[in-house]
Structures are given as structure tokens and as C-alpha cells.
Subunit: 497 residues, 2 copies
């Protein structure tokens, strides 16, 4: 455990301490029941006033993440109870290892995977499309053409930047989305997550300013935080990122990176208006910032108008565009493409070499026939019709079953709904009961906030469950909301350690 | 460009500056002809004496990496000339991007790939086995069993830790190597490179001490340096890492990580004796250090005795063992396995989630049948016989054609020879001429030294070239050595910018 306090930061020391602990507790890096350092020790070690630490610990308690026992100390509490049910056994026989400090600050997906891979879990948490709706069999059946030439390729190190034939196919595919790019400007990565990881490790270091939407994609928060970035947040409304707020932020702090998911934003599902996209590009130009445009699902759209990406308007190499393929073609191939220019691109290629020497050739050669065929478009058309039906079904179920005070977004694309609970109902509590009593998991909104965590949101994916379970599961979840909410009003929630 | 000088480091400021620039020049991150910062600017910016900078620049010149033109400045020079021939075109139309600093310190593979993917290059550089000798067609032909159950797996996010069935197969495979481990202690990574990357980003930060063999695997140097590690080096002899020197290093500095490739060490081919392996484990225990045992090729062995890994003797979770599969089964699948225990393992799994959410399921499902079948052993037996013949052929060619003063190792396993030139012959010069006049590339030893670079070694791989080219290419290379060496004796080598 290495706590680094930045005394020159624009973020208060109390807030830095709170985030340090809440990130690790919500991620499951700190385990339930684990004792936090004593106020005296921490105050001495970091040379900060005991009062500051007390404030940070109080904030943890207020949010149900820790509990203090008078005369004994402060202990990690709450959701991580769930982990005990599913996680692999802790090895307590390697005590010396606990003395080895690390540089992890958050990892939502590990904590998440404890929820995900539990036995018989009804999973509303994972943002993916049900396997029966994906074209897996079609892609794999006659994808690999085992000619002598292909065998030669498949027996070699992949080019670091990606297979040339695959980049060629993607460059044509992107043209249909008005992104005019050459194969030379494409870098293949192992999924969007690795794309963001390359950007973070290349361009972000301690104290660098990264702007993110709030709430936002947890995997991106994990990466920027682990690099020691100062994260400034901009809220989203139904036109996407609030550029007016961004402009006033930029008066004081020039961001190095602006991370955005403009189309069917994760987790809220809202989209950025064209006006704001143009404004954002102007802001980036003025501040010499890099825009990271993360676009995993513009293909999954329920509206008629064509979507214009920020990248398609970028003439000066300000936008690093990430086209993830996991959401639309399936996540098992781990494939995404970065589109970038100039020395930003060449530096990312260097980083890719350092990270893993290049993405598996087998996956690239497997997917390319499907993408370049006319199967791709008809598959997507068909898919969108089915997913729209699912969206409407789930919204209808919420309408009839959710207790009053619960609200949700109606996304025009993507596969997630963002649900807001009454402030009195803590989502971590809902999750704990939902997993332990109903075998239903969802994504708690708490992990989607880079800084000031809100405890009354959740994200559910409406496309992952088997069709026949949807109705039951949504109703069960709504009933649990009702139960806990009325319970909440009557009695005080006392966390147990 | 962010130069960070550590005034408390055990490494002198001159040496830190020299390494900062030489790493970037040898990697190709700095381009040929690029002007280095003026002495005045740098002295002011870093608040260090101009004399220190002059010394560092002189050291660069001495090693042929830069050239100073009186009254104008110091410029990057030498091998990167080669890049011009093969690299993608530089985009000079995005000048604003040059103002964006990055955190890359080295990337040998990108610089290398410029040599590797040139047209018609005879490649002695890449450490891989010729595609005709690999079991690619066998593996792919009937590997993917497209049952409904497999299709379901292949349409989902892979488990972060790796497919359970694949980990099961690997745990059995490792038992045959006396490494007794459960699937729960295995983490699947995208090649050994990602394995090292996960370890570096989790456990190494600025100022942490990492011990490496010198020379060593360049990809590992890239990663530890980019994390700001203080790298201490220990030479190797024909019993492997000099543990006596390591012990005296540890008297003063306790290493957090000891990175070693004990079997058929890259690049020298030498192996660590059992006595030293036991000693190394004791040293790690005493110092609470993590040993990273990188084992990509213990299967490629030309001697009868069984090889005992350090991991097989590890009872306390001190060794993080990396079993790379790229060298023996082909690099296109990007698959390796980490074996570790306790919280070191669980922290690496978190890091894996952050890096890319998990390794492609397709690759794991593709390889597992071959590994668990009895084809694996007979393939390896057969392979080793063929590779031994190649090794002997190349050694014989060197014996008859290399000029006097040139020496080489005779490895008892692996696929590389380490060649030492007379001190008068700079290997970067040899590489430049070899690539430009003969279309022959090899790995310059310069990139294998973490600290004090030696300029008179090269690594050649004897298993990658097509059989019919070997004789010619080795003779051509030997002739070039002769030519340049005699030239060197007669005239002073003047670098041209």
C-alpha cells in the first residue's frame, strides 16, 4: 500500500484520502473486515493532521464503506461480503507478500467478476449481448482459410500495429461511418480496454489532468487513476458532456486528455449533440488536448439519423478514436482498433509493442471475412430490431413494477439502462441483497464516478440475459427495491462486520 | 519529453542523462537528425551544471549515438538511418502533437520491427522458429470444436484469469515439468511480454530496485525502465547469474524484483546451475524479493539432463513463473501462463483486468487440444533434433568463416547464438551495413544492456530463416565482419548526419 498525497493538488487532502480508500474498498482490493491503518500511524507516516484522517474515515463510514469500533479501530465493511461467496480462496500462508507494496488503485472488473461468474447468477451487470444473438457460429464456421500463406502468417509474430489485411478491411468499414482513414493510421488492440490502457500508460502520469464525464466507464477510471492522473469531471445531460462546464474548467486547468463516450454513453445511454461535438473539438484544439473518443456501440442504434463521430470532423489529429468490436461481434476475440495520426499514433504503437508485442493473428484473420462481407450489415439491422424490442420490454416492466421515486433513462442506442434510486436507498445495499437473496447481479453506479461517488444509481444491461428470464428478473429486482426502500424508511441501516 | 532526474539515486546524474538519451535513440523514439536540447536550456530546465550535460553528450558521441556540430548543436545519429528505409512515413503535419510529453523510455521492438518487416529481409533478429517447423496446421485443422457449449463460451467475455479448461490443461502440462500447481494459481496472459508488463505495472514504480542479468531480454528492460525502476545489473557466466555479485549488491540495496531467465538465457544462451538456482531462492527469501522466472524455452533443450526450474523448489510464493508458449508452439496465438500464489497472484489478476479484461478465448480453446494430446511430446522431440542440426550447422559455418577475434556461445538449448566482436568493431555500424547492403538483420547487443551498454555483441537466431538460405547468409555476414573490421583498423569511422 503506497499512499501518495499531493499537497499541491487542487483536490483536498481529505478527498484524496477518501478516494484512496473508497477506490480500494469498492474494487475489492481491500477485503471485508480488513483493518485500516490507525489514525495515529497514518498521521505520522504521511505527516498530516489526525483531524484530516478522521474526516476521511467519517466520510467512508457515512457511505457505508467502513465502520469504526470505539477503542479498536476502523474496518472495511459492506459490499465485499459478496466476494466471500464466489471469490477464490485467500492464501493466508504467504504473509511476507503483504509487505510488498503495489501500484493498483482500482480494478472494478475483478471485483465485478466475483459477481459475474457466480453459479447460476442472473446477470444484469455485464454489458454484452446474449450469445444466441451474436454471429459466433457464422464467423467461426468457415472463417479460417488454411492456405499455405495463411499458415505462414499464423506461425509468425503479428505485426505490432496489426495484420495489414485486417487493417485494410477496417479502414473500409470505417469509411462507411464517414471516418476516412488509411490502414497506416489504424492500430489493432486487444479490445477497447487495452486501447485506453495504451493511451493512459503513454500519455498520462502523476499530476496530468484528465477530463472525464461523470458518471463514466469504470474501466477507464481504473486506468487513469492507476497512472496518478488528476481527474476532473464534467456532468452529462441529455445532450451529452456539458461543454459549458468544461470550458470554465479549462480556464483554470488545461487538460491533457479528454475522455468521452459520445454515442450511447456508458453508463447513462445518452448521446452528445452535434453542436457539442463541434464545441468539444474546438476546446481540444484551443487547449492542445487529446480527445479519446471511445465508440463501442454506435452501430447499436434505435434511431433513424446517422451518427456523426467526432473523429469524422477531426482534421488536426486531436482525436484518438477507439472502435471496439466486442460489443457488436462478441467479446471473446478481444479486438478493437485505434484510429490516430502523427506522433500520437507512432508513440501508441511503441507502447503496444511494450505491452504485448501485438495482438493475436488468429483473431484478426478469423474476423475479417465477416466484417468485409455483406453479412455484417444485415446482421446489424436484424440485431437492432431484436434489441429494441428487448429495451421496450424492460422499460415496460420497470414502468409497471418499480416503486415510485425510481427513474431510468430511455437510451436511443446501446444496451444499458441507467436507473436512479431514491436517495434513501443505498445501491450497495441493494446489490448485496440482490446477489445474496435473489442471485441477481447488476452494475452498482458507485464504481462509475471518478470523484464524488453517488450511491443511488445502477446500470442494468437488457441484452445479456436469456429471453425467458427477463420478465421474472426485472420484477424480482423491482420487488427488492420496494422492500428495501420501505425498510430503509422505517429503520436505520446498521452495517455489520 | 519528460526528463526526470533523481538526485538521491545511486546512479550518477551524468549516467541518468546518458541513459535517458541512449535508450530513446537506440529505440528509435528519437529520430535520426533530431536536435537534442541545447546545453543551456537543459541545464536551466533541470537545474544541473552544464558540465554534467556536456559529459553525457560526449558519452553519446563516443558511442556513435549523436554528433555535435560546433556552433549549431548536438544531433541524433547513426542506426536510425535504417528506419528511413522501412518505417511508415512520418507525419509532420501535426506539429502541435510534439508538445505532448509522453512516458515512453524505450521500445526495442518497434525499432526492431523496422528491421524485421522490411521487404525481402533475411532475418536473424527475430527469435522464433521457422513456420515450416511449427505445428500450426496440426493445431488449427481440427482444433475448434464448435459445439453449442463452445459457441456459448466463445460469445462471452473470457474469465479475467483465463479459461478454466485451458488452465487445467496447463496445470497438468506443468506437472510434467515438476511444477506442481493448481489451475487456480495460473493466470493466462497475452504472451510472456504481457506477463512481464503486468508484473512491472503492479509492483514497480519510480525508485524501486529491480535486479536484472546483463545482458538480458530487451523487452523486459523496456518495461521496467518505463516504470521508473532503478535497475541494478548482475553479469552472467556459464553458470548463469553471478549470485556472488548479487549477494554483495543486496548488502546495500534490497531488490523488490529479481528478473531472470535461468534456462537458455536470452541473449547469451547460457543456463543457471542448480547450485545458483538454490542460492537465488535463498537470496530472495532473505530480502523479501520477488523472483520473476521467465521460461520461454526450457522445452528446447539439446542436453539429456532434465531442467529444474526455480519455481519447482519454491515453497513460499517467492517465484512468479512465466511459461511462454510462443517460442515452442508459435507466436501468433499470444499465449503464456503466469504461475504465482497468494496476494501476488490476486494483484496480478486485478492488473490483467485493467490491462485488457482477459485473453482471447478463441486462442485458448484453439491450443488446448494439442497441448493435452500426446502429439505435444513427439512434436517437441522431433523439433529438438532438427534445431540441434541447425545449431551445429551455423556454428560450423561461423568456425570456418568468421574473422579472428570473433567469438560465440554454444548454447545447450534455445534458438539463439550470442556473438562477440572485436572491441574495434561497433555492432551498430555492422547492423547498418548489413541491413542496407546485404538485407540481413540481426539483434544488436546494444539493446540488451540495461545500464552500461556494450557495443560489440550481436544475437542471431538460427531457427527462423528458411533452411536453404542459412549457409549463404551466415557467410555473407562473416564477410561483412571481415570487411568492416579491417576497414576499422585502417581508418577512423566518421558518422554522417
Amino acid at each position: 500500500m503506497i499512499i501518495e498525497i499531493d499537497r499541491n493538488s487542487i483536490i483536498t487532502i481529505t478527498q484524496q484520502l477518501f478516494e484512496f480508500f473508497s477506490d480500494r474498498i469498492l474494487s475489492g482490493l481491500f477485503k471485508d473486515g480488513q483493518q485500516l491503518p490507525s489514525i495515529r500511524t497514518l498521521s505520522k507516516e504521511l505527516n498530516i493532521s489526525p483531524m484530516t484522517i478522521v474526516k476521511a474515515y467519517n466520510e467512508l463510514e457515512k457511505n457505508g464503506l467502513a465502520v469504526t469500533i470505539q477503542g479498536k479501530g476502523t474496518y472495511v465493511n459492506q459490499r465485499n461480503n459478496i466476494e466471500k461467496l464466489n471469490s477464490f480462496p485467500e492464501h493466508n500462508d504467504f504473509q511476507w507478500q503483504m509487505g510488498i507494496p503495489d501500484y493498483l488503485s482500482r480494478s472494478q472488473f475483478q471485483s465485478n467478476s466475483n459477481l459475474t461468474y457466480g453459479n447460476n447468477m442472473y446477470n444484469l451487470s455485464i454489458a454484452s449481448i446474449n450469445y444466441k444473438l451474436l454471429p459466433t457460429a457464422d464467423i467461426l464456421k468457415d472463417s479460417l482459410n488454411l492456405t499455405e500463406r495463411n499458415i505462414e502468417y499464423l506461425a509468425q509474430y503479428p505485426p505490432v500495429q496489426g495484420d495489414h489485411e485486417f487493417r485494410n478491411v477496417l479502414s473500409n468499414y470505417l469509411k462507411s461511418k464517414e471516418i476516412s482513414t488509411a490502414p497506416e493510421n489504424i492500430l489493432i488492440t486487444s479490445g477497447s480496454q487495452q486501447g485506453i490502457s495504451l493511451i493512459a500508460s503513454t500519455f498520462v502520469g502523476p499530476g496530468d489532468i484528465v477530463v472525464m464525464e461523470t458518471p463514466t466507464y469504470p474501466g477507464a477510471i481504473d486506468l487513469f487513476k492507476s497512472r496518478g492522473a488528476v481527474i476532473l469531471t464534467v456532468p452529462v445531460d441529455n445532450e451529452g458532456m456539458r461543454t459549458d462546464i468544461l470550458i470554465s474548467l479549462c480556464d483554470k486547468h488545461s487538460p491533457k486528455i479528454i475522455y468521452t463516450m459520445p454515442n450511447f454513453h456508458n453508463p447513462t445511454g445518452c448521446s452528445m449533440s452535434l453542436r457539442r461535438k463541434i464545441e468539444l473539438l474546438d476546446i481540444a484544439k484551443f487547449n492542445n488536448s487529446i480527445i479519446v473518443e471511445d465508440d463501442p456501440w454506435s452501430e447499436i442504434s434505435y434511431k433513424k439519423e446517422k451518427i456523426k463521430s467526432i473523429k469524422s470532423m477531426d482534421t488536426d489529429g486531436h482525436v484518438v478514436y477507439i472502435k471496439g468490436l466486442s460489443k457488436i461481434l462478441g467479446p471473446a476475440y478481444r479486438l478493437a482498433a485505434i484510429v490516430a495520426e502523427g506522433s500520437i499514433l507512432s508513440r501508441l504503437i511503441n507502447a503496444k509493442a511494450n505491452h504485448d508485442l501485438g495482438t493475436s493473428m488468429l483473431n484478426q484473420k478469423t474476423l475479417l471475412d465477416f466484417i468485409k462481407s455483406n453479412k455484417m450489415n444485415s446482421y446489424l439491422d436484424n440485431l437492432n430490431k431484436k434489441l429494441l424490442r428487448r429495451r421496450d420490454k424492460v422499460i415496460n416492466l420497470l414502468k409497471h413494477n418499480a416503486p415510485s421515486g425510481v427513474n431510468w433513462t430511455i437510451p436511443e442506442g446501446g444496451i444499458n439502462l441507467w436507473i436512479t434510486l431514491p436517495k434513501s436507498l443505498n445501491v450497495e445495499k441493494l446489490l448485496y441483497h440482490s446477489v445474496t437473496t435473489k442471485n441477481i447481479s447488476f452494475l452498482p453506479g458507485t464504481i462509475c464516478y471518478p470523484n464524488e461517488v453517488e450511491f443511488n444509481h445502477l446500470r442494468i444491461c437488457f441484452t445479456y440475459l436469456d429471453e425467458e428470464h427477463i420478465e421474472n428478473i426485472i420484477i424480482e429486482l423491482c420487488n427488492l427495491m420496494k422492500l428495501l426502500n420501505s425498510d430503509e424508511k422505517g429503520s436505520c441501516y446498521v452495517p455489520v462486520i
